[in-house]
């Protein structure tokens, strides 16, 4: 099998039979790390993360334009900017875009970029699958939006209630695009969830136990599990809808004996965890930003108890026919863990030394706005009150305070916070702060009045209201506010442009511009392709911070090392990385073909299926570029018992116990790392 000149095959865990890297025509790996190919065929989790983020921002603009159209239509009674039909398409696509194509991929951007860094890994567990997730998501999003040019976008609301979403009541192809587009995007989420869960469970740096992971990593891990359970449910629902519309399956046809509430059950079994999927990543971000700029560790002793209550709610409310009372009570009691979370952030700030950077402003703003959303949530968790408020603008106000005020602001905070890590320069702080205040004011001007409108009885999803309904004043306010938000968002993009131009030619910002706590700051900025020069052995929570600072017996914090001295400089050249690949992109390309075919012509579906099968075949059989390139899964999962030994030696107050090469106890560390690290292609940091 092997050529005589090569050394004998060595089989180690996770390695495959190595094929010679002679050219096999198209079945060779792409080369080159510059130009468009380096993005299109990359499997680097950081590039994939950045592309996720860029796509999410692009869709944010589209969803934002849709929002402005809605607000223009509702600015005055009897608005005539949009027809009824167009309005229904626009509000449907606004919801679908913001939920599935903005907040979720934005969270995926952070997860992709930061999870491997925060746990000290070189990449995710399945780099090619990761690339496939990105292209799959993008394929779904673009496919969905092509409906605008193909006879009309979805018009049944983001919730797509049957039977209004059926062929009789929604005769355009819009809802087909909805069902198939979300199906494709769902594949992306599911694949990504499995990938990231595997990454966290298997690829943590030596000593990085689960409970030493940063809060953001935790939140992202929880979100991946939620996706793993929630996405299959919406997949089923969307399949039923597609079969109803495309093949007369009658799943939701009342005349054929169906109960249209089936859709609602399925949709909300998905939709409920979806709420946490949207908010938890932002919670994680805020839990990184607030401690950093308060110069205090996150204030949690029993925080995880709260998450337990949360999950409990999720499982009880989703299943079976739920009595109104049980649902109401369980919904109400989510307020407890949520409130605990808010108080934890406040307690973290208490007694701190707070720097109001733009990132911190956004995080504190998100806490304040999310509090409002949470409180209005309690007022309609009271089921009788909800019979008045549901499907009114009170609810619109509520979930915008949660998802815009909480999720999006939290993520903007994250963008400002990690931008220097991703691109090697900070975003302009002055523009950022102006942008924050503009956004905050616009946000409250838009969504604050909606509480009043809702209580005054304004229904959701109406394209028009009568002049004598008494809704005129606050709708005008909201419309003005929405354009203030637009200015805030434009300032954000302007800031990106200005800061990039200024950074051109300037030396990159240091590895740790904020004096932060996570491992991601322990390498150069922008992050080198191979992440870390050496494996990092972790001995406690906030490992990186403890390598910079010592807490004395009197509680006083003194510096023991500069960030630059602790952090890796990115100069290593011997780190093996997975090779780029054509096939994730090709396979993802086949999916929209299948979907178009289902709507227009089954032959196109056949073509798409061939593309997918061919792509998968090539994916499986493509060669590694060099024999070492496949030795990618470094088994970093730490044995807890080994870890406790480390922790004891490191201690809470020991400055640098795990040791850089120069720290004295390197020999012992080397032995331990050998046990903990297992076979690894990457040098551990203890090796001289």
């Amino acid at each position: 099998m092997t050529t005589t000149s090569e050394p004998p095959l060595q089989l180690t865990a996770g390695e495959q039979l190595v094929r010679p890297s002679t050219s096999l025509g198209v079945l060779s790996r792409p080369k080159g790390d510059t130009g468009w190919q380096s993005w299109l065929f990359t499997v680097d989790h950081k590039r994939i993360g950045i592309m996720y983020g860029a796509a999410a921002l692009l869709f944010l603009v589209m969803g934002g334009v849709e929002a402005l159209l809605i607000r223009l239509q509702l600015a005055v009674p009897g608005g005539s900017v949009l027809s009824e039909d167009a309005y229904n398409q626009v509000f449907t696509m606004h919801g679908v875009t913001m939920v599935f194509l903005v907040i979720m991929p934005m969270a995926a951007a952070f997860a992709n970029y930061l999870l491997p860094l925060q746990i000290g890994a070189r990449d995710v567990a399945f780099p090619r699958l990761n690339a496939f997730s990105l292209w799959c998501f993008l394929a779904g999003g673009i496919f969905l939006n092509t409906s605008w040019f193909l006879g009309g976008a979805p018009d049944g609301g983001w919730f797509g209630y049957a039977p209004n979403s059926g062929l009789v009541y929604s005769p355009s192809n819009g809802m087909d695009f909805y069902a198939l587009g979300l199906q494709i995007a769902g594949i992306a989420s599911l694949v990504s969830a499995i990938n990231l869960i595997t990454t966290v469970l298997n690829m943590r740096a030596p000593g990085m136990t689960l409970f030493r992971m940063p809060v953001l990593s935790w939140m992202l891990l929880v979100v991946q599990f939620l996706l793993l359970f929630a996405i299959p449910v919406i997949t089923v629902a969307l399949f039923l809808l597609s079969f109803d519309r495309l093949f007369d399956a009658n799943f939701f046809n009342v005349a054929a004996g169906a109960d249209p509430l089936l859709w609602q059950h399925l949709f909300w079994i998905f939709g409920h965890p979806e709420v946490y999927i949207l908010i938890l990543p932002a919670f994680g971000i805020m839990s990184e930003v607030i401690p950093t700029f308060s110069r205090k560790p996150i204030f949690i002793a029993i925080g995880f108890m709260g998450w337990g209550v949360w999950a409990h709610h999720m499982f009880t409310s989703g299943m079976g026919p739920v009595s109104v009372a049980a649902f109401s009570l369980s919904t109400m009691f989510i307020a407890v863990p949520t409130g605990v979370k808010i108080l934890n952030w406040l307690a973290t700030m208490w007694g701190g030394r707070i720097r109001f950077t733009t990132a911190m402003l956004y995080s504190v703003g998100a806490v304040a706005m999310f509090t409002i959303g949470g409180l209005s949530g309690v007022t309609h968790a009271v089921a009788p009150a909800d019979t008045q408020q549901t499907d009114t603008y009170y609810i619109v106000a509520h979930f915008h305070y949660v998802i815009f005020g909480g999720s999006l602001m939290g993520m903007l905070s994250g963008i400002y916070f990690w931008w220097p890590k991703m691109f090697g320069h900070k975003l302009d702080e002055k523009l950022g702060k102006i942008g924050f205040w503009v956004l905050l004011i616009g946000f409250n001007l838009t969504f604050g009045p909606m509480h009043i409108l809702g209580l005054q009885g304004m229904s959701r999803r109406i394209h028009s209201y009568a002049a004598d309904s008494g809704f005129n004043l606050w709708n005008l306010f909201a419309t003005v506010g929405s354009f203030v938000i637009a200015v805030g968002v434009l300032l954000f993009f302007w800031n990106i442009g200005v800061s990039r131009r200024r950074a051109r030619g300037a030396p990159p910002v240091g590895p740790d511009p904020w004096d932060a706590r996570g491992l991601e700051w322990m390498t150069a900025s922008p992050t080198p392709t191979h992440n870390f020069d050496r494996d990092i052995t972790v001995t406690r929570q906030d490992e990186f911070w403890h390598r910079k600072w010592r807490i004395g017996d009197d509680g006083k914090v003194t510096r023991i090392a500069r960030s630059e001295d602790v952090a890796h400089d990115g100069s290593a050249t011997d780190v093996h990385l997975p090779s780029p690949s054509y096939w994730p992109f090709v396979v993802a390309l086949g999916l929209p073909l299948v979907a178009y075919g289902l709507i227009y012509n089954l032959w196109i579906t056949g073509l798409g299926a061939l593309v997918i099968l061919g792509g998968l075949y090539a994916w499986v059989f493509e060669p590694p570029d060099d024999p070492e390139a496949h030795a990618h899964d470094d088994h970093h999962d730490a044995d807890p018992s080994d870890d406790s030994g480390n922790g004891a030696s490191g201690g809470g107050t020991s400055p640098n116990g795990d040791g850089e090469p120069d720290s004295g106890d390197g020999t012992r560390q080397l032995a331990e790392a050998g046990v903990a690290g297992g076979p690894s292609a990457q040098a551990t940091e203890e090796q001289p």
Binding site: E84, N88, D155, G156, Y161, P163, G166, V168, Y169, S170, D248, N253, A255, A258, D259, P260, L261, R295, K296, F299, A301, G303, A325, S328, L329, A335, G339, V340, L343, L346, A347, M349, G351, G352, R353, T371, L375, S376, T379, V382, P384, A385, D386, T387, Q388, D391, I452, G454, Q456, G457, M458, S459, S464, D468, G470, N472, W474, W514, D515, I551
Partner: protein, 419 residues
């Protein structure tokens, strides 16, 4: 040391700013109060059920507002108290020999948590919510209580794109054909609980008269019980609140609440079928136009000669949706037997009479003012132009480009005989 200094400086400014915020809030509330009337207002209840809901909502809202001020106050306080001011930041940067973000000397005490504190702020809200939930449970039980007797009036509410039908069962037996079928205006007696059975013929709608009670979804194939009751006579606006397609916004309705004597009179009037007009009688020409163009969908009891049971069968077919692709079905449009006795038409988006102030007395059509001829004729001429629909797909009223103006005038004259 420095803390004390900051606090002293903080006090005055904090209260000044807080006062500004309060003034702004007060001004906003005043503006709301001054605005014109809100016919769908959930907070000005006019019935015992809406009352019950608000009695629960306001205390919860109060608690939420208190928590709101506590949390936001805490945030504002900490922002001012613990903020590193620009001058201090500059000084710290000058002291430090590194280009790190902070100076080296200003780390506060590193507190990781406080078990007792965290237990407290977990347990206190739990108790608070437990108290609220007791009242919530009581409310849920009370709101679902039907006090009306078995043989009292019951109304079947049927939603469809995009109007409401009300089928009256005077003896409370909903298994028999209804005694009265009307559209868009739910006429009911004052201070009497009216049990409703809510359903739909096509997609999901939601029945909501906010001043009387919360909303209830109308789901095809299911019947949802609900009750409604008003304290005072009057006309209370409602709106479909579950998204139901093109003209969702134009699916409104009214509850018209009458004193018992008027209610009896209204019932007697509605029980009478229309008499077919004979040649020469005023409105006869219009009747001919009606029978030739409108009777395919609209029923006038006694004139269109359709048995009510058959009508309902037809509606069941219509509810199938998927099975019907072409012609509109008789009974799929509002029953017009007593059209002129109503005050609105086309899903209650148009007033039938000019003088909108004269809403009550409901029964004396003559004193309501002149016919709103403009909207009515425009509606007959080209309904899709006034209210988006999909008439080809059996959803909504079609346009009648073939009708001459003379025919439309005659038709309107006929419709006004349907009192």
């Amino acid at each position: 040391m420095m803390g004390a200094r900051t606090r002293g400086r903080l006090g005055g400014r904090f209260w000044r700013r807080l006062r500004l915020v309060l003034i702004a809030l007060g001004a906003a509330l005043a503006l709301t109060a001054c605005a014109d009337e809100h016919p769908l207002d959930t907070l000005t209840e006019a019935g015992p059920d809406a009352q019950e809901i608000n009695d629960l909502f306001f205390p919860v809202l109060g608690v939420a507002i208190v928590v709101f001020f506590l949390v936001q106050g805490a945030i504002i306080y900490m922002v001012m108290r613990y903020r590193v001011r620009r001058r201090e930041a500059a000084a710290a940067a000058a002291d430090s020999d590194s280009d790190d973000f902070y100076g080296d000397e200003d780390y506060p005490e590193q507190v990781h948590g406080n078990l007792r504190l965290e237990l407290a702020w977990t347990i206190i809200p739990t108790i608070l919510l437990a108290v609220i939930s007791v009242f919530t449970l009581i409310s849920i039980v009370e709101l679902n209580e039907v006090t009306a007797a078995e043989d009292d009036l019951r109304v079947t509410v049927v939603g469809q794109q995009w109007w409401w039908e009300f089928q009256y069962h005077l003896d409370g037996d909903t298994s028999t054909p209804p005694d009265i079928v009307t559209a868009n205006e739910l006429v009911m007696p004052v201070r009497q609980q009216v049990p409703l059975e809510i359903t739909s013929r096509d997609v999901i709608h939601s029945f909501w008269i906010p001043q009387l009670n919360g909303k209830r979804d109308a789901v095809p194939g299911r019947t949802h019980p609900w009750v409604i009751e008003a304290n005072e006579p009057g006309r209370y606006m409602g709106q479909c609140t579950e998204f139901c397609g093109l003209s969702h916004a134009y699916m409104r309705m009214y509850a018209v609440v009458l004193e018992p004597a008027e209610w009896e009179e209204w019932v007697q009037g509605q029980m009478v079928d229309a008499a077919p007009l004979q040649p020469g009688e005023p409105g006869y020409d219009g009747q001919e136009v009606f029978l030739a163009n409108c009777a395919n969908c609209h029923v006038v009891n006694g004139v269109t000669d359709v048995d009510l049971d058959d009508q309902l069968d037809g509606m069941d077919d219509y509810a199938g949706g998927n099975t019907i692709t072409s012609a509109l079905v008789a009974g799929a449009a509002p029953n017009l037997t007593h059209l002129a006795s109503r005050t609105t038409f086309a899903g209650s988006i148009f007033e039938l009479y000019e003088d909108r102030a004269e809403r009550i007395p409901y029964l004396e059509v003559a004193v309501r003012g002149d016919l709103n001829r403009g909207d009515l004729e425009a509606w007959i001429r080209d309904a899709p132009d006034r209210k988006a629909n999909d008439a080809d797909g059996a959803r909504g009223m079609t346009a009648f480009p073939g009708l001459t103006e003379g025919e439309i005038d005659a038709l309107v004259e006929y419709l006004m005989t349907l009192r």
